[in-house]
Symmetry: C2
């Protein structure tokens, strides 16, 4: 069968690691598979190139940044192909362009529009192992683009989809997806299987195993993804379509995110369209708002609106909010950085009631105040005080019995 294997930066950090990757690739090929490898830049390379650019400019042009940053993956792809050939297999390195990855024209965060993979298919049929430079593509006008942080995951999933691969293996430096961060809960359990929807929630909640867009893509095109370590032979976690087994598990994981800031607009006149105006302006500035809560005040004439944004955008969001608050004659704007988001995720929630209540109770029992709440079909998130993050993760992991063998 055809297998796409993606190796991240730590998996190709040096030539010793690249040789180990080549051995794994060759083993997969010798088991009778066709193999397409997607590689990231050697760890640290992309950051090194970014700092070189900042040494010559405070605000480097994005077109040139893409040309610069795409070099890291080209280097790894060539070295990996050379290492595979050294083991006696035919291998060929492809740039994003040679792989036929056509993107839109948005530099530094381009979207893949199509993959013209005739050339790759021809090389595969001739017995080559292909090694593709991840993270990059070209526009119709042959400008080099990159796909944003973690974009090599997306390259791998999109290539797997285009080539109708049986599976996309994402090799990283962890064994798979865990019920929570093992640094906080040493008893955290590796999941054998997780649904796309759950993975998507976990990815967007700050569990950095897979890039969010790559999960969306895998879900849309139903590409089975396996997350596993390139440093051992453990089986990893299969990310796939929801099945009956998964539904029996109420909560699959506990995630946290310390990268949020809360902004509150106090005393907003209670008129239709006020919230819409605020959030449109923030969206126009390309700032993604996560949670939103609105409370009408006791006198019924005004409301408080609270919302969270990523810490990196908090300055700009605050500035915009203050301007709009002035326009709408609100009473004031406040900001809090001392918050964290704690979430429980699980497709079983759809068919089990009382999960949210159990979460709130557990937090209350340990003296953790809930500042904001947001729910979806398969997730409950609470904003709490930052200092309780680790405690909250531990008690929730415990109450939903995630440590036990599932």
């Amino acid at each position: 069968m055809l297998i796409v294997q993606k190796y991240g930066g730590t998996s190709v950090a040096n030539t010793g690691r690249i040789r180990a990757v080549a051995e794994r690739v060759v083993r997969t090929a010798e088991e009778g598979n066709e193999v397409v490898v997607v590689v990231s830049a050697m760890s640290g390379e992309t950051d090194k190139l970014i700092s070189l650019a900042h040494e010559v400019s405070s605000n480097p042009n994005e077109r040139e940044m893409d040309l610069l940053l795409s070099s890291g993956e080209r280097i790894t792809s060539a070295l990996t192909a050379i290492a595979i050939e050294e083991l006696g297999h035919k291998a060929m390195a492809f740039t994003g362009r040679q792989m036929g990855i056509i993107t839109d024209t948005v530099h530094t965060r381009a979207r893949i529009e199509k993959i013209a993979c005739q050339r790759a298919e021809k090389a595969l049929s001739e017995g080559y192992i292909l090694v593709i430079a991840g993270f990059q593509g070209v526009t119709e006008n042959e400008e080099v683009t990159t796909l944003g942080r973690g974009g090599s995951d997306l390259s791998a999933v999109a290539i797997a989809s285009a080539l109708n691969a049986a599976m996309c293996e994402i090799y990283t430096d962890v064994d798979g997806v865990y019920t929570t961060d093992p640094n906080i809960v040493p008893e955290a359990r590796k999941l054998d299987k997780i649904s796309f929807e759950e993975m998507l929630e976990l990815a967007s909640l700050g569990a950095k195993v897979l890039q969010t867009r790559s999960v969306e893509f895998a879900m849309k095109y139903e590409v089975p993804v396996v997350v596993r370590s390139s440093f051992n032979e453990n089986r990893g976690t299969l990310v796939t379509k929801e099945d009956e087994d998964m539904e029996k598990v109420v909560v699959s994981g506990v995630a946290y995110d310390k990268n949020q800031t809360k902004i509150t607009v106090m005393g907003v006149p209670d008129q239709p369209g006020i919230a819409a105006k605020l959030f449109k302006r923030i969206a126009d500035a390309n700032i993604v708002v996560d949670m939103i809560v609105q409370n009408v005040s006791s006198d019924g004439k005004s409301a408080d609106i609270s919302f969270t944004v990523p810490k990196t955008d908090s300055k700009e969001a605050l500035k915009l909010t203050e301007a709009i608050a002035g326009d709408m004659e609100a009473k004031g704007v406040s900001q809090s950085e001392d918050i964290a988001k704690i979430s429980i995720v699980g497709v079983g929630m759809r068919t089990h009631s009382g999960v949210a209540a159990q979460m709130f109770e557990t937090l209350a029992k340990h003296g953790i105040n809930i500042i904001m709440i947001s729910t979806s079909e398969i997730k409950v998130s609470c904003i709490i005080n930052l200092k309780y993050t680790e405690l909250a993760v531990r008690v929730l992991h415990d109450v939903f019995e995630l440590s036990e063998t599932g």
Copy 2:
């Protein structure tokens, strides 16, 4: 006017140097010129990439090597374009492919077949300063190729020719072309002007200022080339078509080359076709033979054939020669590494007699034995004992009065 400026590895060795290059480029543009910049990899980068490849393979595939090595120039081109933009000018980095440099399919030493420069011309007409990654091109099948050591010089000259540039400036870490190596003769004088033919002889004789093929190309398409330093404002040396001034100078420079090995086949039966057979076999192995001398021995029945090859090829050449010597029943083969080639070069030799004689006399006067002699219209070369190299350079530089202001 349109000026092509090529900056070598030491000129773009770090971001400080790249900023200095950007300033020079912008100054040239602000004097009213259109500027196309060609850059090498930052010094040391190409060697670093080569050693990475050798860490994963003893014999890396040339196709993959080209993909790997072309990355160095891409990085410099992006950084240089960013640095120029930081100074408030419109700049655009181009890869070899984006510049339309189409080569043959011989990886690691491809030849430029044509330059499709419509895209570059359009960008120039829109007011962009272009920064081209040197040393690279693509085949018709979109495979990445490189042009061999020093290939960025060739990129620059070929681009200057394709764009009908008024001039191609080659920036390096020396002030220009000297009458000889200033490390040996401190009084060596920088030449203001030199003919293509002389430069070609000097380049192929081991004066490493310009890559030989780039000089051939410049001569063929009559591209005026200026060699100058990026570390100061000195005027440099103009390499151009021969003119009357140049003919007045009998000897323009003294060159030496310590990178040759002499191989002698003794007692070769004096039959037609023997030498042809020997040198065909050596040429088939892609070894370039430099000087050849054949002496019929005193008995008139056999001959000694001596020739020189680059030291890097000496092992293989010796092996081939020994095999052929066996076939042709020669008496033996000997080899000497202890030699150097000393040459005087000058277009004035065409119209001045006695130059060779003066060279031989001078060497003899200082006790330097001549082992082989080879002459062309504008050059006399002698193979001498290696240990006399510096002495020979000094006495010839002196006798042809090269130190004095021309």
